[in-house]
Amino acid sequence: MKKLTSAPYLLWMIIFVLVPLFMVAYFAFTDSGGAFTLANIIKTKEYAPIFIKSITFAAISTVICLLLAYPLSYILSSMKLSVQGTMLLIIMLPMWMNFLLRTYAWQALLGNNGIINNLLGLIGIGPFKLLNTQGAVILGMVYDYIPFMILPLYTVMAKIDKSITEAAEDLGCSKLQSVIKITVPLSIPGIISGITMVFVPAISTFIISKMLGGSSNLLIGDLIEMQFLGNAYNPNLGAGIALVLMIIILIVMAIINLIDKSDSDDKVLM
């Protein structure tokens, strides 16, 4: 009886998750007339540089997110409980602003005549080329996705029993040692979910690169969008690229999950 309560959802997932994915696969292996072909998958090879660029960008921004979010979450989790709530609120609040708008605001900040360059101009430096660079794309990724890193990290760290670190420190560990030897290992599930939740949207975005990247920072997401709703209509090729992207993500996930030996059911979110 209990098990049956999940039946509607499982049915839902089959119809609206699995079946659509099979349709993507079907499109990827057919041509516009519906005949079987491998051409779409083979053609994807031409876009290898784009794939490499997307993976690199996503990886760099994931690492930056982790480096920025880790100390932040640590500081947060060591604050007084009542303050923690307020601080978390302050940090998550920007997420309620539409992310397209936030990214658009970065355009205004980074432009040649943008706000940052104007401010720098006041003290006599610049203007620097900030917008339409690789740096701008990575900045946009870090900015848009860092909350997804902070949240799981904070959640695990808040759960770590303070008495363990205290005990370690009583036993002669320095603060740093206790972080390295206790907090980091215990927060690995949070790190894993954080990485996942930043890396996946970062590798497939088409908005950030379009808005901040200029002429030469096209990413996989843009390529897929171009095939489906953009200027180079070819859904079969688009499906092929999407399929390859999915496989890449699965491989990356598998590698990341190797690090995590804990047997947790809800790794992704924590």
Binding site: P49, Q107, G111, N113, N132, S216, M226, L229, N231, A232
Partner: protein
């Protein structure tokens, strides 16, 4: 803390008060309109799905007429108005079957492409009495030689918008887009047809070239340009040119008019070597379920007064001669919207649909240009 909440509450109250006031848009003068024919759908709960280019209609802002609203009031038909950014986006949505539009506004070459692929319905011109208002010059064009499936909405040419502060001599043509002096300050079209047209013009080719060699030559030209391009854009031109983020951009004359109205530092050049002349036309897709209402909508767009409102709002050139007569001299003689006939006939070329093979090749070349290093 309490103070903050106090401030926030005040802000909230202020904004909700603001809601009551609202700004008034102008009201359409319906005296000259035969309201009789517009009443046939009243109270029937008919809905019309209209897809148009972004910012391509008078929408009631800045004290102008809200065309959609006026149409709804006049007819009782509810309009679901959505927008798209390029012909190709419209095509993709229709091809995917994800769309059931009643009214679309593709450009010339897309009109014939859609028709050739069986996606456009024939228009019954007896239901559009205002079609008589359209200047004969814009009837029977190459993309609809027998006038069966399209009604011209606006036309225009492509030219170069430039920053007058930084480029003082307007003595250039398309080649400026390849000038290293302006590296990183150039914008370029983010759609294959317009981008290829510029390269083709520079190479002395027809804008409707469909042979492999020509297309590849144009693609090479565009590839050569890529390192100099700051960004490939469509309507982002507005923001970037207005804020002096870029110095030169090829774009549509109508938008240049709108931009120059608000920005004194911008100018417009029509290249002597020639350019593309486009006609954006209203069409009814075959999937439309409310063709009668759609015809009525087209007729409404052709009302001279509605045309005037739209022309001032979007800045493009009207093919409607009754509308043209009602425009003020400033608009008629701005040197951009209505060029002399000599230039238009001898130096402009309209797009026609490319054969399927060429079309596909262009798409592929474009993807490879955009994705290349």
């Amino acid at each position: 803390m309490k103070k903050i909440i106090g401030v926030l509450c005040t802000a909230l109250i202020l904004t909700s008060l603001a809601g009551c006031a609202g700004t008034e848009s102008a009201v359409l003068d319906t005296t000259a309109i035969d309201t009789e024919i517009y009443s046939s759908f009243d109270g029937q709960g008919v809905e019309l799905n209209v897809a148009n280019w972004g910012e391509y209609i008078s929408d009631g802002s800045e004290g102008r007429v809200d065309v959609i609203d006026e149409f709804e009031k006049l007819t009782g038909i509810k309009v679901n108005y959505t927008t798209y950014a390029t012909n190709e986006e419209l095509y993709a949505k229709m091809r995917a079957g994800a769309a059931d539009y009643d009214i679309i506004v593709p450009s010339d070459y897309m009109v014939s492409k859609l028709y050739n692929e069986g996606m456009l319905a024939d228009i019954d011109f007896s239901k559009i009495p205002n079609y008589a208002n359209i200047d004969e010059k814009y009837k029977n064009l190459a993309f609809d030689p027998e006038n069966r499936y399209s009604v011209p909405y606006f036309w225009g040419i492509v030219g170069l918008i430039y920053d007058k502060n930084k480029i003082t001599e307007p003595d250039f043509g398309w080649e400026i887009l390849w000038d290293e002096k302006y590296a990183d300050n150039l914008l370029m079209f983010d759609n294959p047809r317009d981008a290829f047209a510029i390269a083709e013009n520079l190479l002395g080719l027809s804008l409707n070239s469909s042979d492999e060699a020509s297309l590849k030559a144009a693609a090479d030209k565009l590839r050569e340009q890529k390192p100099l391009v700051q960004a490939y854009v469509m309507d982002e031109v507005f923001d970037k040119m207005a804020a002096s983020e870029a110095l030169v951009a090829p774009y549509y004359a109508g938008d240049a008019v709108t931009l120059m109205e608000e920005n004194d530092h911008l100018g417009f050049v029509v290249p002597e070597s020639g350019t593309n002349m486009f006609v954006d036309s209203v069409c009814i897709p075959k999937t439309s379920k409310n063709t009668d209402a759609a015809h009525l909508f087209i007729n409404f767009l052709l009302e001279p007064q509605v045309g005037v409102a739209n022309t001032y709002a979007v800045g493009y050139s009207t093919p409607n001669k009754k509308t043209f007569e009602l425009l003020d001299d400033e608009m008629k003689n701005n040197g951009i919207s209505y060029l002399d006939n000599d230039y238009l006939t001898n130096h402009t070329e309209a797009f026609s649909a490319l054969p399927e093979e060429a079309d596909k090749l262009m798409s592929e070349l474009w993807t490879s240009i955009r994705s290349g290093e």
